[in-house]
């Protein structure tokens, strides 16, 4: 029965939708009141499910489930409150980017913490038997659990609404999202309430996790898989709007489920033409998000005005550093020489594995460099930069498989395609600024991630394989895998050759970027980062410059992706390896670690990140936790990155009380009328 089937799917959609509502409600209110974008919301969601596992274990499914659904959210809520007090609170007043960075660091920490405590195996959340029975109402057959989820979540949503709109604390929180300073001016210390908001948001996410965990399963990737749809919901509904979160959550849940269910089904036949539901599952929500961001960035219910000039600034490394420019150049030269000799040292050590690591570092150094061009110089914060890395890799693989194996053609192809993509994405994205820009680039990246699963020519979920690079052109040269020569009795193979190719390209990229920043074009980018308004009013078309910077950046990231495909250690180009959003986060982490706005900083960051990963992973499985913690500490205390450490130390030594810190507040204009 088509109708019953439809209603079943609708119920499934509502079930999923309610989970989204719980997630998005917390996320949205946190942003509305605190201006904080909480990437770790997905992990708090997972934490709720995992806590429940532990609680249910001793009690059994019957009583355990009910205890868990009360206790676990409270526990997660407390954790959320603690997180706010210790890590988020110190960041108020900084550019919102830092919240994204911080909460991304928290993702690493919490996720690894989960792996440590509960292991990596997928688990089942035991649900009371009477809830998991199937039930048939009016020909519609679903599990009781579906109804339970919908009702329970709806109940919670109503309770939350009640708390927001009918209690004293809720009123204060609502007032806070309307006019924070005025809340202070009536005598209320709004900061204390932030902890409450964050904690309650975390608790709601935990409930969602338990509920969904019982419906599907509990696994370490569940947070990752739900955070992006949660952001889609929040953007759709409007940042800061509870009502919007409800509406958006249900809408996205239903649309996603229906599209998945009716994928490809025939809708109608008109004459010779068969109309079927296009295979847009997974793409629709991102298209929707992009559309909303372009047309009405505040979302369907959002009431926040135009994004105001951010209070903070992106703190760049290297500014006011202790080393003179010429010293730095000399150090750079030494570094290059050292890198050139490194493989020989590795050879003597006998383990070629480190070459593989170095190759990875070089590829990501180029990727991070590309990010610095837009983030550290033009002042744009893209959350979807991995799209260029991924598209570059895919393009390179495809060229190798179908067109030419020549390294030069392959890399050139990757650069060009990504530059074009960057031009398209950039032209659309640059219309919005700040948080919305970050979101829209994320949406594009997710769109592409979902897209590659669907097409045959991209290999679907398996990806592409069987490609090989040819170091040369036409018939002159040799296939990378065939290159072998002996040196001092050692055999040097393709890793070795690739290393020098990658090193050469990395150095050339850095020199190119440096040259560009010292040229008129780059100088304008820097002025845009300093003060966009002023740049406009001394006569520069700011949007055009941003777009061009984005294109160059995208092309360079594509180059990095292309190198990945060419690399002998790469056998497969798959979606998760190249286009998963987590890579967008990783490259930002790397850039910040090193020090943005310096070009070489992010490259150093790459070395540090992968080096640390290598080093730590030989001692413990929880290296991500350590790196995540390091990263959080950096965001809080060393925001200008590693390259700024020398000058930080110098400052400390100079004046004991020079706790000037890295925060510079923009001064408001003195104006009193109109």
């Amino acid at each position: 029965m088509v109708a019953a089937d439809f209603i079943e799917q609708l119920l499934n959609g509502l079930t999923l939708g309610m989970v989204y509502v719980l997630l998005a409600a917390g996320l949205s209110v946190i942003f509305g009141v605190m201006d904080v974008i909480n990437f770790s919301h997905g992990e708090l969601f997972a934490l709720g499910a995992y806590f429940s596992l532990s609680i249910i274990a001793p009690f059994g499914a019957g009583t355990g489930f009910w205890i868990a659904i009360v206790v676990a959210p409270v526990a997660v809520g407390l954790i959320g409150a603690a997180i706010e007090r210790t890590t988020v609170r110190p960041l108020y007043g900084r550019d919102p980017l830092y919240h994204i960075l911080l909460t991304f660091g928290l993702v690493l920490v919490i996720n690894d913490g989960i792996r440590l405590i509960w292991g990596t195996q997928q688990r089942q959340l035991a649900v009371p038997e009477y809830l998991s029975r199937p039930v048939s109402i009016l020909g519609v057959q679903v599990s009781v659990y579906n109804y339970f989820m919908i009702v329970f979540a709806a109940l919670l949503a109503v309770v939350t609404w009640y708390l927001l709109n009918r209690t004293k604390y809720g009123m204060i929180i609502r007032a806070g999202s309307q006019d924070r300073e005025m809340v202070r001016n009536v005598g209320i210390d709004i900061d204390q309430y932030y902890t409450l908001v964050f904690g309650v948001g975390a608790a709601l996410a935990a409930v969602a996790g338990i509920v969904l965990g019982g419906y599907q399963n509990v696994n370490t990737g569940m947070g990752n898989s739900v955070i992006i749809p949660a952001f889609v919901v929040v953007v759709l509904g409007g940042l800061g709007s509870f009502r919007g979160a409800v509406f958006g959550g249900l809408l996205v849940g239903v649309v996603q489920t229906l599209m998945r269910a009716y994928n490809g089904s025939v809708v109608a036949t008109v004459g010779d033409v068969t109309l079927s539901v296009p295979n847009l599952e997974g793409l629709t929500v991102y298209l929707l998000m992009i559309a909303v961001l372009l047309v009405k960035p505040q979302g369907l219910f959002g009431t926040r005005g135009e994004e105001s000039e951010s209070e903070g600034e992106i703190l760049v490394g290297g500014y006011g550093g202790v080393l003179a420019d010429s010293t730095r150049v000399r150090l750079g030269g030494i570094a290059v020489v050292a890198l050139a000799l490194a493989p020989l040292a590795i050879l003597f050590m006998g383990d070629q594995y480190y070459l593989v690591v170095l190759n990875e570092i070089l590829i990501w150094a180029i990727f991070a460099l590309s990010l610095d061009i837009v983030m550290g110089y033009a002042g744009l914060v893209p959350l979807g930069h991995t799209m260029f890395y991924g598209v570059g890799a895919y393009t390179a693989a495809l060229v190798m498989l179908h067109y030419s194996q020549s390294v030069f053609v392959v890399l050139l192809g990757a650069i060009l395609i990504c530059a074009v993509l960057a031009w398209i994405v950039g032209s659309l994205s640059i219309r919005v600024s700040g948080v919305y820009f970050a979101m829209i680039t994320l949406a594009f990246a997710e769109l592409l991630y979902s897209a590659v699963f669907k097409f045959d020519f991209t290999g679907g979920s398996d990806g592409l394989l069987g490609f090989e690079a040819f170091l040369g052109f036409g018939t002159i040269g040799a296939s990378l895998s065939n290159i072998e020569f002996g040196l001092l009795g050692y055999e040097l193979g393709q890793q070795f050759v690739f290393y020098y190719l990658a090193l050469l390209i990395a150095v050339l990229s850095l020199l190119f970027a440096r040259r560009m920043m010292n040229a008129p074009f780059g100088s304008v980018l820097q002025s845009i980062r300093e003060s966009e308004e002023r740049a406009e009013f001394i006569g520069y078309d700011v949007n055009r410059y941003k777009r061009r910077a984005f294109v160059i950046s995208g092309g360079m990231a594509g180059l990095a992706g292309g190198l990945l495909a060419v690399s002998p250690s790469t056998v497969i180009i798959s979606p998760d390896q190249t286009l998963n959003w987590i890579h967008s986060g990783e490259v930002i982490v790397i850039a910040l670690f090193g020090g943005m706005g310096t070009l070489y900083g992010p490259m150093i960051g790459s070395g540090v990140f992968f080096g640390a990963e290598e080093f730590l992973s030989s001692y413990t499985d929880q290296w991500r936790l350590i790196i995540g913690t390091m990263f959080i500490l950096f965001v809080l205390f060393v925001p200008r990155g590693i390259v700024s450490i020398p000058s930080l130390v110098a400052q400390r030594l100079e004046t004991a009380n020079n706790a000037d810190g890295p925060v510079d507040m923009d001064e408001p204009e003195v104006r009193s009328d109109d």
């Binding site: 040229a519 008129p520 304008v524 820097q526 003060s531 009013f537 001394i538 006569g539 109109d674």
Partner: protein, 254 residues
């Protein structure tokens, strides 16, 4: 016969139900020093933003040096000679003084730089730009501090730098946006002296609250109230205008 450097015709701006600027038609002669004043909520800033291009009008026309610039983007207006000065917080703090000025000078030479040069040639290697930078630095008296970071400068020097940025774009008309806001009387005097020193041969349009100042330096004054033009005239004429007096001091109001 002096030329008109700036002219607005029926300039109007509505924000929903509120009409911030209502049918303002004014005309500034070449070389004139025009001030725009008015009590709170008069629409001065909105008018200013309409002329510089930061806002688009709901109705009306803006003409600059005889050409209709109503639909021209702000950065392009600068290129045509319509300069705008900000309050000091808008210099490029993290860059050196020299670089600040050079950027401004570079923008008016953009057409002379081909794409290849824009990407690859050393920014300091353009003779004309370097020369202009040097000249402007001298004019604003900051040549000795050229290599310091802008945000490290003292308040007064940042002011100088700000004017230097405007000067370097070689404007025919300079729009000054409350340049002495928040300043003491001495600082105000110093600022106006500087403006006189450096921009006297250009047309100037000033928005200000400091009436004393405005009376002293302006050739002509336009008084706005509730978005409309109340009066225009010489300082003497305005000082003796009863309607203007009432607008400020109260009394008969609609």
């Amino acid at each position: 016969m002096t030329e008109t450097v700036l002219e607005t015709d029926g300039l109007t701006k509505r924000f929903g139900k509120l009409t911030a600027v209502d049918d303002v038609s004014l005309s500034v002669a070449d070389g004139e020093f025009r001030s725009v004043i008015g009590p709170n909520g008069a629409g001065k800033t909105t008018t200013f933003n309409l002329i510089t291009g930061a806002l688009s009008p709901s109705a009306g026309v803006v003409r600059f040096k005889g050409e209709d610039i109503t639909d021209v983007a702000p950065h392009e207006r600068v290129g045509r000679g319509l300069g705008r000065s900000f309050q000091i917080t808008n210099v490029f703090g993290g860059l050196t003084v020299r670089e600040n000025v050079r950027l401004a000078a570079q923008s008016v030479h953009s057409d002379d730089i081909n794409p290849g040069e824009a990407l690859f040639r050393d920014k300091n290697g353009f003779d004309e730009i370097a020369e202009q930078t040097g000249t402007v630095l001298e004019q604003i008296g900051l040549q000795d501090r050229a290599d310091e970071h802008a945000e490290a400068l003292a308040y007064g020097d940042q002011r100088r730098l700000e004017l230097g940025l405007v000067l370097a774009t070689d404007p025919d008309l300079v729009m000054l946006d409350e340049p002495t806001a928040g300043m003491s009387s001495e600082e105000t005097q110093a600022t106006m002296n500087l403006i006189d020193e450096v921009l006297s041969d250009r047309s100037l349009m000033l928005i200000e609250h400091d009436i004393d100042l405005v009376m002293r330096v302006s050739d002509r004054i336009t008084v706005l109230t509730r978005g409309e033009e109340l009066a225009s005239g010489t300082p003497d004429e305005i000082a003796n205008n009863e309607d203007v007096r009432d607008a400020y001091l109260g009394g008969v109001r609609e």
